[in-house]
C-alpha cells in the first residue's frame, strides 16, 4: 500500500521543527499554484541532518542552525553553491500573560534576582539552537553565570514555551516567532541583536538531488510569496 516512491519527481524538504507553520503554508501554496508536488518532513535539525547523512531521500534541507548545515557540507552532502541563508530570527524573553514582572534587558541586568527560587525556561544550551543563542546572549550581557543553576533546559523551544505558558517557569527564552503566535505569553524583552551571533536559517539542496523541480521550489522559497508567509510568522527574511 505504501510504495517507496523516493524516485518520483515529488520534492521532499526536510525542515527544522520551528519552521513547521510557515513551511507547511508555503508548500500548500506551491501545490495550489500547480508548480509541483512537495512533501515536507519536520523534526529536529540534528535528526534531519543525520538522516540526510545516512541517505535519506531529501532534496532540500532547511536547518535552524548553521552548525548542522556545516556538518553536511563537510560530509559533501550538499549540492555545491546552493547553500543560502534564508531566514533570520530573534530571541526574546517571555513571561506568562498575567505576569506583573517588568524587566529591561541590558548589561548585567538582575535576572537571577527576578527569578528568585524559580526557573528560567529555555532550549538546552548544549544543543537546541534557541538555547545556544540564549546562552550566548546572557553571557555577553554578563548574567549567565548567575543563572546557570536556575535554567530548566528543554528538549526544544516549544517545550520551553509550554513551561512559560503553564506558568511553571516565570520567564523563558524563545524565538520571537514562537512568542508571536502563543496567546498565553507576552514578550517582556528582546535581546539586543549584537548580544549573540545572528540567528540564521540556512537552506541548501542535497547533493545529487538537484532536480529541476527541487530547484524551482528553492527559488519559490526565496520568492515574494514565501517571504510574505515567513514574515507573517515573524521571521526576518534575509
Amino acid at each position: 500500500a505504501y510504495a517507496d516512491d523516493g524516485q518520483s519527481n515529488k520534492v521532499r524538504i526536510f525542515s527544522a521543527g520551528s519552521t513547521i507553520n510557515a513551511v507547511t503554508d508555503i508548500c500548500n501554496l506551491f501545490i495550489e499554484k500547480k508548480m509541483g508536488e512537495i512533501t515536507p518532513s519536520f523534526a529536529a535539525s540534528s535528526t534531519l541532518a543525520k538522516q540526510i547523512d545516512q541517505g535519506a531521500p531529501a532534496d532540500i534541507y532547511l536547518s535552524a542552525n548553521p552548525k548542522w548545515m556545516d556538518f553536511l557540507e563537510k560530509n559533501n552532502m550538499l549540492e555545491p553553491g546552493t547553500r543560502f541563508d534564508l531566514l533570520g530570527n530573534r530571541i526574546v524573553l517571555i513571561a506568562p500573560l498575567n505576569s506583573t514582572m517588568t524587566i529591561t534587558i541590558d548589561k548585567g541586568f538582575d535576572l537571577a534576582g527576578v527569578l528568585g527560587d524559580e526557573k528560567l525556561a529555555m532550549g538546552d544550551p548544549d544543543h537546541v539552537p534557541a538555547g545556544i543563542y540564549g546562552k550566548q546572549a546572557l553571557e555577553s550581557l554578563g548574567v549567565w553565570d548567575s543563572v546557570t543553576l536556575k535554567v530548566a533546559r528543554s528538549k526544544d523551544v516549544r517545550a520551553a514555551l509550554a513551561l512559560v505558558e503553564r506558568a511553571e517557569a516565570p520567564l523563558g527564552i524563545v524565538y520571537s516567532t514562537d512568542a508571536a503566535i502563543s496567546k498565553k505569553v507576552k514578550v517582556v524583552g528582546v535581546f539586543p541583536e549584537e548580544s549573540h551571533p545572528p540567528i540564521i536559517y540556512p537552506v541548501a539542496l542535497v547533493a545529487g538531488n538537484a532536480t529541476p523541480s527541487a530547484r524551482s521550489f528553492m527559488e519559490f522559497l526565496k520568492g515574494e510569496d514565501a517571504k510574505a508567509i515567513f514574515e507573517k510568522y515573524g521571521f526576518n527574511v534575509r
Partner: protein, 234 residues
C-alpha cells in the same frame, strides 16, 4: 469509532499507525516466542548476552535505538546497504522501517511476557505429552504454546500499545514523512511544534487512546473466553 469526524490527515495517521503496529506485532511474534522459550528453558554460554541484547531497546533512550537502526539498517547501513544491493529491499524512510523500529522497541516487552508464562508451565504436562508420543517440537505447538496463551496475549497487547506510541526511534530512523512514516505520535509531535496546534494534538491523543482501549478490551474479552473454556463452563 465514528470515522466521519476525522480529518484526512488524522485518518491517514491513524491508518498508518494501525498498519505499522500490526506489522510490527505480527513480525515480532514468532521470533519473540522463540527467544522467550530459549531464555526460559535453555542454559548456554552467552545467555546473559542474548538476554541483555533483547532488553537493549528498553534500556536505551529510543532516539539512540533509532540512531543505531539508522547506522545498521539504513540504506547506507552495515546490513541495510547489503540488503538493498542483494534484494532491492530497504527499510530506509518508508513504513517498513517504521514497523521495524516499532518491532524492535516492543520486542523486550513481548519476550518478557511470554517468557514469564513459559516459566509457569507445568513441565509435568510436557512430560506427559512425551510419553504420549509427542516430540519436542510437536509438544511445543500442542501443549506449551496453548498453555502460554495468556502470556502471548499480554505480550501482544504490550507490544501493540508500545508500537502505537512509538516516536523517538521511528522519527530518528525513518523521519517524519507524510503518508509513509507519519504515524499518530509523529503527527502529534508535528502539531505540538506548531503554536496553536493544541486542539489538533488533543484530537490525536484521543484517537490513540480510543484505539488502544478497543485493543485492550478485545484482548480482555478473548482472554476471558479462553479462560472460561479451560476452567470449565462456570
Amino acid at each position: 469509532m465514528d470515522f466521519s469526524g476525522l480529518t484526512p490527515l488524522e485518518l491517514e495517521a491513524l491508518r498508518l499507525s494501525l498498519w505499522i503496529s500490526c506489522w510490527a506485532v505480527a513480525g515480532s511474534l514468532g521470533p519473540g516466542i522463540l527467544v522467550a522459550w530459549i531464555l526460559a528453558r535453555k542454559n548456554f554460554p552467552g545467555k546473559t548476552i542474548v538476554d541483555g541484547l533483547v532488553h537493549l531497546p528498553l534500556v536505551l533512550p529510543p532516539v539512540v535505538t533509532g540512531y543505531m537502526l539508522l547506522l545498521i539498517m539504513g540504506r547506507r547501513g552495515m546490513v541495510g546497504s547489503w540488503l538493498y544491493e542483494l534484494t532491492g529491499f530497504t527499510f530506509a524512510f518508508n513504513w517498513k522501517g517504521a514497523a521495524l523500529a516499532s518491532a524492535v522497541m516492543a520486542f523486550p516487552l513481548l519476550v518478557r511476557a511470554v517468557r514469564l508464562s513459559i516459566e509457569g508451565v507445568d513441565q509435568g504436562l510436557e512430560q506427559a505429552a512425551r510419553t504420549l508420543g509427542a516430540g519436542p517440537v510437536d509438544l511445543f505447538f500442542t501443549v506449551t504454546l496453548p498453555l502460554v496463551f495468556p502470556g502471548i496475549l499480554t505480550g501482544v497487547i504490550l507490544a501493540f500499545a508500545r508500537s502505537l506510541s512509538e516516536f523517538g526511534a521511528t522519527i530518528t530512523f525513518v523521519s517524519n514523512i507524510p503518508g509513509e512514516t507519519r504515524t499518530l505520535p509523529i503527527a502529534l509531535y508535528s502539531l505540538t511544534q506548531m503554536p496553536g496546534g493544541e486542539a489538533g494534538a488533543m484530537r490525536l491523543c484521543i484517537i490513540s487512546v480510543v484505539v488502544a482501549l478497543i485493543a485492550i478490551t478485545s484482548s480482555e474479552i478473548l482472554a476471558k473466553r479462553m479462560e472460561r473454556k479451560i476452567k470449565g463452563e462456570r
